[in-house]
């Protein structure tokens, strides 16, 4: 049983990686969770999980014949697949191989979370949204972020990927978040699953190389993420169907 989620925002820096790991940890109480850094150009999941020193990452899997299992690390109750940050690793990595990798991982987990790249102008950034069952849209209560979140939804809808939920992050006390989320909910085809406050804990957690739920489990941010994870109803799918979908989508990228 597996459901694959893309965690996407369009705009960068809104908290996709923070949210991927926080939701993953919250869900790992009930499910077998695997998180993948599908942002192969600006990978940063490794820094949030203390994996920046490891030998093998997704770059090696996408760029040579290293098996996926070599890039899987058991951390914080989840399986974590980090990606490297070198430019040469990025250039060697073939984004089309990601689908095979995800198909392999899908065979062995309940919930798969794909941390996606910001921007919608590159095929590799859009692929996680294309291939996932549903998307968690991370959004900051600002115009650029909301515009991009709406664009993400258009990409998802066009490819038959539904919206699992919209997660407001970095909400400031002065934001009239009630009004903003009420106005936003008219345009999104999924529920608003949470409002995560702007607090120091995510940055402190990142500095410590840990997900915020591990570093500051009692924090208001951690609480808000656990609430959001509860609102994400996992719909168990058929893992072979998912694996097939990922495999059959292996079409070479055009020059």
């Amino acid at each position: 049983m597996v459901e694959a989620f893309a965690v996407a925002s369009g705009k960068g820096g809104v908290g996709k990686t923070t949210s991927t790991l926080a939701l993953g940890m919250a869900l790992s109480d009930r499910y077998d969770v695997t998180v993948v850094d599908a942002d192969t150009g600006m990978a940063n999941l490794l820094f949030h999980t203390g994996l920046d020193g490891v030998e093998t990452t997704l770059h090696d899997v996408l760029g040579s014949d290293v098996p996926v299992s070599d890039a899987v690390y058991e951390r914080f109750g989840m399986r974590v697949v980090p990606c490297g940050t070198s430019l040469s690793g990025f250039r060697r990595a073939d984004p089309d191989r990601l689908r095979g990798v995800v198909a392999t991982l899908a065979r062995d987990t309940d919930v798969l979370l794909l941390d996606s790249a910001p921007a919608l102008g590159a095929k590799s950034a859009v692929l996680p949204v294309v291939l996932a069952d549903r998307v968690v849209v991370v959004v900051q209560p600002t115009i650029p972020s909301l515009s991009d979140a709406l664009k993400v939804q258009e990409y998802a809808t066009a490819y038959g990927t539904s919206i699992a939920g919209v997660l407001f992050n970095r909400v400031q006390p002065t934001d009239p978040i009630e009004r903003i989320s009420e106005a936003a909910s008219r345009y999104f085809d999924g529920p608003i699953i949470g409002r995560i406050p702007e607090r120091p804990s995510p940055q402190a957690a990142r500095r410590a190389g840990k997900p915020v739920l591990a570093h500051a489990p009692e924090s208001s941010v951690a609480d808000a993420y656990r609430g959001a994870a509860d609102r994400l109803e996992i719909r168990p799918g058929d893992e072979t169907a998912i694996a097939d979908r990922f495999q059959s989508a292996v079409i070479p990228e055009q020059p």
Partner: protein, 179 residues
């Protein structure tokens, strides 16, 4: 595309476009660069917008907002004439808000064969800009969301871009309603 006329701040001819990205960072350019072929002045001109030196959108009349395609057109201009224009930050931000696509800030550097120093500089400048973004004027956020015509227009333009790119990326068969 339509752009407000900026204030010309630099005109130069370069042999590789990636050097312009470094120049934009040096100048902390907020505005846009127009890229043309000095020997063929009537050829279509490409465009990259910048916010504090960080690329925002890439445009070329033959490929529209598809950043990757626009960048490869621009990269083929060798030598390349570039005119850099300044705009006010709010103007640039509103262009980026309305553009059908913005570019991953490091994509131009990596696609145009910039070195890893350029890539790191772009990343650093980008994250610095992100964390310096002024607190939201929330009235504006609410009025943005209440302007349903504007939102519908954004959704409609995005739908067209999605279809266009699906064909370019060979993903059309995965579209829900395969046109």
């Amino acid at each position: 595309m339509w752009l407000p006329q900026g204030r010309l701040c630099r005109s130069t001819v370069v042999s590789t476009v990636s050097s312009v990205l470094a120049l934009a960072l040096d100048l902390s350019l907020t505005g846009y660069g127009v890229f043309s072929m000095p020997e063929t002045p009537r050829a279509p001109r490409g465009l990259i917008t910048f916010d504090g030196g960080v690329p925002g959108c890439c445009y070329h009349p033959q490929t529209s907002w598809d950043s990757t395609a626009a960048l490869s057109r621009i990269a083929s201009y060798r030598p390349c004439r570039v005119d850099l224009y300044q705009l006010s930050r709010p103007t640039v931000r509103s262009i980026h808000d309305r553009a059908p696509e913005t570019v991953d800030p490091t994509l131009p550097a990596s696609q145009l064969d910039g070195d890893s120093i350029l890539l790191q500089r772009t990343k650093r400048r980008h994250s610095k800009r992100e964390s310096n973004t002024a607190p939201t004027n929330t009235d504006t956020v609410v009025s943005f969301l209440e302007d349903s015509d504007r939102i519908r227009a954004l959704q409609e333009t995005t739908r067209q871009t999605v279809q266009l790119r699906a064909r370019r990326w060979n993903l059309a068969s995965l579209l829900e309603n395969d046109h």
